[in-house]
């Protein structure tokens, strides 16, 4: 885990403030942003993968059965996948807290 920036001292920084852990931004939960979430009707999913291509977050992957599903840790709820899914297997609903 990367030390959070509000706890880093000047000694914790690498030379030139270089970041040496590639992709460590994946620790950041962008899913906390959303106000809508995608819900999936897998009976309609033809496993084409188009939603995973069009997701700006790159957070749609295949579950154990091979159906495409958004990773809610990252999903910002933009609705592109629901809009583009040609079998209408995905629907956006209000996020309830």
């Amino acid at each position: 885990m990367t030390k959070p920036e509000n706890m880093m001292t000047w000694k914790d920084l690498e030379i030139g403030s270089i970041v040496t852990e590639p992709g460590n931004a994946s620790q950041y939960q962008t899913g906390a942003w959303r106000s809508q979430r995608p819900i999936h009707d897998f009976t309609k999913c033809i496993k084409c993968g188009l939603c995973s291509i069009f997701c700006p977050e790159g957070c749609i992957g295949q579950n154990a059965e091979g159906y495409f599903e958004a990773d809610l840790f990252y999903c910002k709820g933009c609705g592109i996948c629901a809009r583009e899914c040609w079998t209408r297997a995905i629907k956006m609903v209000e996020e309830e807290e």
């Binding site: 001292t9 920084l13 403030s17």
Partner: protein, 391 residues
């Protein structure tokens, strides 16, 4: 044992870069640095220097290309002057804050407007706070020696900072001087290969240039300041080892008859040579005068300056740049600030002269000393004196 060669200093600097086996030169020509970059282009074209020569389309791109090359782990050199240094201004900050080692020769030139291609230190003073290591050379031999030292200092694992080598435009860059070049084998021994620790490399991906929100920006600046301050040790060590290897020793502050002088002059750059001759003459006339030559400008050698001037009664600082509406002579204001807390310190007098290529002669320095002593005695309403201006 090689002989001294009579050679134009700009060309000699190119040859020093060749001896250092630089990998990448990205530069844009500007008077009075042109002979440096022209000679480097010739060396690359003839195959004598195995380097990539990037004839960029501006100084901003020159320094930017240097950033990229240094980040890749290459040994990088460039040169500029005056307006060119101004055009790359925002980029030079990045070189130091990202800790990318490289060497840049600056043929110090006055700034527009009015346009002046001739020498003074105003370009230097515009980059006081940028965080580069900066040093002055007074003659051709020093120029060659310190270009070699600059590579070693810059790439030192404890330092990893870009280095500027300042030489007076025209007054030094275009002079033909006798210079002793070290042998290639000697340079190879003195200058180890560049081993930048985090190059852009697909084997070990890094992210360079992340942005810093307020919660962490101050920490990055503290780290930067600690690093440049600590670099002085590596600089002094390098100069010591250079001296041991080649017989010529350099240090942050060099005195000339300064130990017992009542009145001291302080200069940076090649005017020191004229000043030294003036000191000889004045001492011959029985005056108790000496010269302090400031070689290391950044990091500023506080300890060495205090040591060098502590016995004097009067210290006359001759600046070749003017801070408008401010303290006048920038070097003088820094020296004053260094001495402020000392219990015993000389009276400090500020002169600004030699602007835009105007020379200060032997007589000129004598006048400065005389007038400086008067001002130390009687005080002055002005923060500083401008020397040699027709009223």
């Amino acid at each position: 044992m090689a002989d001294k060669v009579g050679i134009e200093v700009s060309v000699a600097i190119g040859d020093a870069v060749k001896l250092a086996k630089a990998d990448v030169v990205a530069a844009y020509p500007i008077t009075p640095q042109t002979h440096i970059v022209e000679h480097l282009a010739e060396l690359v074209a003839s195959g004598e220097l195995d380097a990539a020569y990037i004839p960029v389309e501006s100084e901003h791109s020159a320094m930017s290309a240097c950033l990229g090359a240094a980040a890749t782990g290459a040994r990088v050199f460039t040169a500029t002057a005056g307006q060119g240094l101004e055009l790359m201004h925002e980029v030079v900050y990045v070189a130091s804050s990202m800790q990318l080692p490289m060497v840049m020769a600056v043929a110090n030139r006055a700034l527009s407007s009015p346009l002046s291609v001739w020498g003074d230190h105003s370009d230097v003073m515009s980059v006081r706070d940028v965080g580069w290591i900066q040093m002055f050379v007074e003659n051709g031999q020093e120029a060659v020696d310190n270009v070699l030292c600059a590579f070693r200092i810059a790439e030192d694992r404890r330092v990893l900072l870009p280095v500027m080598v300042h030489l007076d435009g025209f007054h030094l860059s275009h002079m033909i001087e006798p210079i002793l070049f070290p042998e290639q084998a000697e340079v190879d021994r003195f200058l180890p290969p560049n081993q930048y620790p985090f190059p852009l490399d697909t084997g070990k991906p890094v992210t360079m240039g992340a942005f810093a929100p307020p919660v962490i920006y101050s920490e990055t600046k503290k780290a930067q300041e600690v690093n440049i301050r600590a670099s002085q040790e590596a600089i002094i060590e390098c100069w010591q080892e250079f001296g041991d290897a080649f017989g010529r020793y350099y240090s942050p502050v060099e005195g000339y008859h300064s130990e017992d002088a009542r009145v001291l002059l302080l200069t940076m750059g090649s005017f020191s040579e004229t000043a030294m001759t003036a000191i000889d003459k004045m001492r011959g006339d029985g005056k108790s005068v000496g010269l302090v030559r400031l070689r290391l400008w950044r990091p500023f050698p506080f300890k060495e300056i205090r040591q060098a001037v502590k016995e004097a009664e009067v210290l006359i600082v001759v600046d070749r740049a003017l801070s408008f509406g401010g303290p006048g002579g920038p070097v003088c204001s820094e020296v004053r600030s260094a001495l402020y807390g000392e219990a015993k310190r000389p009276k400090v007098v500020s002169f600004v002269g030699g602007l835009g290529g105007r020379d200060i002669s032997l007589d000129g320095f004598e006048t400065i000393v005389t007038r400086g002593m008067e001002i130390a005695e009687t005080g002055s309403e002005r923060e500083f004196e401008m020397f040699g201006v027709r009223e």
